[in-house]
């Protein structure tokens, strides 16, 4: 059975994938459908949804097109979620793997280092980092990655600790495999399931974290993001519900889709589950 067929056996994962593809399509099509900058004021402010042709989701406090903002924002939100999660995994997985596999002094040093990051509240650290580096897409991605890797390291460490004394790992050691090979070929593939689940949640958290940063006015001033849209609409939530509702739904759907896809990936990557079903 092909990888995709195994993946598609999980209905939820398929739905998630479709939603995700639609969001990606939105991001790609945005410049074609709305060639103008989403920041441009194009109509009178507070236009409710469906009240005028060309503005299906209405306009915001400054008369900007909400539909255009939503589509342009998809790109930034997805980019920030995926890139910051990848960076966090790149830091957390090797650290956790080394700490869990070798144990002892190495483990102590690496874990104290990890705890140093964990003692500072995530969000506070992210705010400080963005404020120091000046708000831009790069600095936001970096800040989110730096605050979200410790849980990855701890998870991977725990998995490695429980797997490193399995008989098949001992067998690999016996045939003379190097530590690097054992870590990469024997143990890491068996830790993939929890890592994938955690990563799909982290993408979601990253999108939300970016929203929170933009909400506080620490977003990149040059790009439209869903978080910024919600943040800007907070003062008028009672007069113009649609300004925060549509970007909110977009975030919700993205997060949901990512979780479903993560679960499907986990099923498809597990050779045992895939053949028994």
């Amino acid at each position: 059975m092909s990888f995709f067929a195994r993946f598609a056996q999980n209905r939820g994962a398929l739905v998630g994938l479709i939603i995700l593809l639609m969001i990606i399509a939105m991001a790609i099509l945005a410049p074609l459908l709305f060639p103008e900058s989403p920041w441009r004021m194009v109509q009178r402010p507070f236009l409710p949804p469906l009240s005028q042709d060309g503005f299906p989701l209405g306009t915001d406090t400054m008369g900007r097109n909400v539909a255009a903002g939503l589509m342009h924002g998809a790109w930034v939100s997805l980019l920030i979620g995926l890139v910051s999660t990848s960076v966090a995994l790149l830091i957390g997985v090797p650290l956790g793997a080394i700490a869990g596999y070798y144990g002892g002094l190495i483990d102590d040093i690496l874990m104290r280092f990890t705890e140093f990051f964990q003692t500072i509240p995530n969000f506070a650290l992210a705010i400080v980092l963005v404020a120091i580096m000046q708000p831009s897409v790069t600095s936001i991605v970096l800040a989110i990655a730096l605050v979200s890797w410790p849980p990855v390291a701890r998870l991977v460490r725990a998995e490695f600790m429980s797997l490193r004394n399995r008989e098949y790992v001992e067998a690999a050691r016996l045939v003379g495999q190097t530590n690097t090979t054992i870590i990469l070929r024997q143990i890491l593939p068996n830790t993939l399931s929890p890592i994938i689940v955690l990563a799909s949640l982290m993408v979601a958290t990253a999108i939300l974290l970016e929203s929170s940063l933009s909400f506080l006015g620490l977003g990149d001033p040059n790009v439209m993001s869903w978080g910024y849209m919600i943040g800007a609409a907070r003062t008028v939530i009672r007069q113009a519900w649609w300004l925060s509702f549509f970007p909110g739904v977009a975030i919700l759907l993205t997060v949901l889709a990512l979780n479903l896809v993560g679960e499907g990936l986990d099923d498809a990557l597990n050779p045992k589950l895939s053949r028994e079903r």
Partner: protein, 543 residues
Amino acid sequence: MSDIATETVLSIRQLSVALPKGADRALAVEDVSYDVKRGEIMCVVGESGSGKSMAANTVMGLLPKGVRPVQGEVIFEGQNLITLTEKQHRALRGLKIGMIFQEPMTALNPLMRVGAQIAEVFEAHGKLTPKQRQARALELLIEVGIPQPEKAISAYPFELSGGQRQRVVIAMALALEPVLLIADEPTTALDVTTQAQILELIRDLQRRRGMAVMFITHDFGVVAEIANRVCVMRHGQIVEIGEASEVLGNPQNEYTQALIAAIPSNAVPPHREANTTTPLLDIKRLNKVFRSRGGWFKPSREVRALDDVSLTLARGETVGIVGGSGSGKSTLGRCVVRLEHPDDGELLLDGVNLSQLKGDALRRERHRVQMIFQDPYASLNPRTRVGMAIAQGPIANGTPKAQALKQAGELLDMVGLGASSVERYPHEFSGGQRQRIGIARALALNPELIVADEAVSALDVSIQAQVLELLEELKQRLSLSLLFITHDLRVAAQICDRIVVMQHGRIVEQGSAEQIFLHPREAYTRSLLEAIPGRSASVAATA
């Protein structure tokens, strides 16, 4: 009470139990009928997957989800148990029917004192006052023969040994004086000497109380030891049923005959010797102490796993290391393959001292000593294809990948699995097949010495015999030297030239297999020999 032996306690009639869709067969148990009578021990024997436990679970109303009886009845005291509601069933469990489980550690609540757990049985059925419950618990502990029962009653399960825990489980099952006792592989998790004691206890209690016992096991040795009547099952069906002496002494069915023939024989092993006397492995005064780090308020603990162990093994020789749990036999094996670092002593393999090698130097020598692991399920990486699992060793030692995979195919062929298995994942194989894969992996590096740590203990008897045969054949063909670690003297007798008996980290006795069996010098060796289940029965049969 006049004719005790004929009163039927439990009667199973044409019982069929269906498995959920997608299982490997439609019915777990098919058209099974048997009786269990007062004052007898009925043994239900079969290999894994034979459905032997399913009938017992139906009686207890403890069938797994999705598994349900579809035909027949189970009559206990005039009631059909299949039609009972969950609530009625619960009232019966413990009160009229007691059950002993396989794994005493998981059958007990680790956070509850032993006395409280026994008292809980009375509480569940609303009997006695709390004070009386404690008193009864103590009486029961005395009855099942726990040493220092006054202390044991306030102990936690982890403070007791495996055999003592199983005694507690038995005490709980007996608490309300059930009419029927169901024992599901109660001695499988115990070592030989403890097993003999528990079997004796069950037999003794059964006689004293006149209970009916339904005893489920896979071990014909145990059957010979304890059964009045035997029911042999295979693929969910009864293949043979009858008096124990008849089924064991004169089996009619082919399958039963094969199973009995597959029991590692108790006959004295033939005299055999290694072809050479050139020493391959020379162990000199090896020591290993395990220390658990103490905390602020607890002292550190020391366990002497190996105490001045010296041993030689000639090229082409098979040496068996035999001992109960905690004897240090596994630690010795793990030191030889250097998964464990010995504290001091020498480990000379053909003149090279392996005991002090480290890092890359050790890694380069590793291919010379390989290991076959105990658990065929845990020793293969679930995400690695079988061919790759075998080829990994040669690849790590510099063989090109394509060539290593080709060799893996040849090795799989040699252990009788067919070269096409290369592309499959471990979970597609049965336990016995996986153990063959483990053997192929150990052979891939052309080792000079193979350490087999309880390599057949986790397998069914007939599979065990096949794997032992394969090992023997490979040994002849490739002139291997083997260090065979086992708790089972019967298995050791089948394959070993020499046997080394260990206890508390020390070598108690060593000699040829023949000598150990016929003229054991040490008391411990004799107790191991006497504990072999079914020994007296078959000795009587051969005499």
